[in-house]
Symmetry: C2
DNA sequence: CGTGAAGTTGAGTATGCTCAACGGTGGTGG
DNA sequence: CCACCACCGTTGAGCATACTCAACTTCACG
């Protein structure tokens, strides 16, 4: 069970939003951890070890979770809300490298420092695992290492799909691909895949797709005019998934 | 020791180029395996196991090593030449996702099938490890699993760097970044980092950078006119690495 | 020296960007 | 409770970067 972002944002705990890490909600610790992917294959006994080194916390929309180049001391798993990772250039150009939803891991480290920054795209809740302790645990439980390697490989596959989008797809194809990705995400959460709640801003979408906000907006307007989607801003209804998929794959005539 | 591509291409074994897997050269098996990265941390005893499940083979320029969507039965490590991975769209648009040089691994598998195709950008030589056997070996030697996970994470970091390039850099910045990447690669091999041998075609570069061949060519011409590089086609000399770096990072005034 | 592939250069164009104004919405405070 | 304000999103006009189509040159190989 996952709350929608708007629900989280309206929680009474809002008055507490002063400290850097806010308690947006305090769900059952073990339940939430269990939802995360890393322990999917982990036996009950190992699972207790994992809970022992995990700590959970909440972040508000816009808050930075970690910055590119910082010492990578933790690995994170999202339990509520949407998190995004991105890289910046000196002049402020931003490339969003991924969106992370409940169950996803953020903060994989290569050389000891984070390769990208991460911030909460919506109010969110995460678990974090201290890396030295996680590594020690993985030494004794190779299945965990295996699971983490799988996650990294899956991320890699997604990154290459993203490269194809960024390097070779048109604006229309990019936006169609994005909508289908959100739809798949909704399906994974057991929601209707045609009635989408966009949890991220146009700016975040644009920076994910390698477009400007304006082009993203215009392209969505174009898809609406073509009758493929309806709705507005953050509530989008997919009317013709089939055609949208053809567009996304570049597999359409016009 | 790594032969340049042109050297490999001129080897006397060329007359044998009829079968699908050609013996371009038969270097010491163990020596070459030792050069690959996976066994960097592997003890001598484990190393013998690794050699036992490896087989080496040569491919000619242009030959496919594996195709996207095929069953991922092997993982490969390059020992000679340049290999590239790419994804295709139905209409032929191609995104090159990476170049692989001696010591690099290709063919990481997520869900049992390859996420991209791979072909030899030059005549090349590779080792391949059968996955079931490698997995069995990794079960008994967790350090190998760890090493492979590291490789996947490193690939991921490079993929995100690539996403920034594809999504947010200008043609000039893309080409400058590419040249510096090749220079770093030369350094890693112990060669001069300012006298580059480009082992891949303009088409491959263009598809890696998300540009057309023409724009890539024109941009290189522009950098030459600006006095940052000299040479032509596949032999490029870097005259002003500092400025090239500024351009690559978008950290320059004009 | 001939041939085909690879690379370069030119002219015109289109896709997506910039700059700008306007519209909607939700949170805040009077 | 309502009005204001700030932020987010949309729409428009003009422009620039990179693309397309085309011709030509260079290079590797036979």
């Amino acid at each position: 069970m996952v709350l929608t972002v708007s629900t989280v944002a309206r929680l009474p705990a809002a008055h507490q939003r002063r400290t850097h890490e806010v308690r947006l909600q305090a769900p059952c610790r073990a339940c939430s951890i269990r939802h995360a992917a890393i322990e999917a294959d982990v036996a009950a006994e190992d699972f207790r070890h994992l809970v022992a080194i995990a700590s959970d916390f909440g972040v508000q929309k816009g808050q930075t979770i970690f910055g590119e180049g910082e010492s990578g001391d933790y690995i994170y798993s999202v339990t509520q809300g949407t998190v995004m990772s991105y890289k910046l250039m000196q002049d402020g150009r931003r490339q969003v490298t991924g969106f992370y939803f409940p169950g996803d891991f953020v903060g994989l480290v290569d050389d000891g420092t984070y390769a990208h920054s991460a911030e909460a795209a919506t109010d969110a809740r995460l678990f974090r695992y201290r890396l030295p302790e996680l590594n020690a645990l993985m030494l004794r439980h190779p299945i965990m290492e295996h699971r983490l390697a799988e996650i990294a490989r899956h991320e890699l596959v997604e990154a290459e799909e993203h490269a194809l989008l960024l390097g070779r797809k048109t604006a229309k194809e990019k936006v169609a691909t994005f909508l289908l990705r959100i739809a798949r995400q909704a399906t994974d959460r057991g929601e209707r895949p045609d009635l989408l709640t966009i949890t991220v801003s146009r700016a975040a979408i644009a920076d994910y797709l390698g477009l400007t906000i304006e082009t993203t907006s215009r392209t969505l307007a174009g898809l609406t005019k073509s009758g493929l989607i309806s709705g507005k801003a953050r509530k989008i209804k997919i009317l013709d998934e089939e055609k949208l998929r053809e567009i996304a794959e570049g597999d359409y005539v016009a």
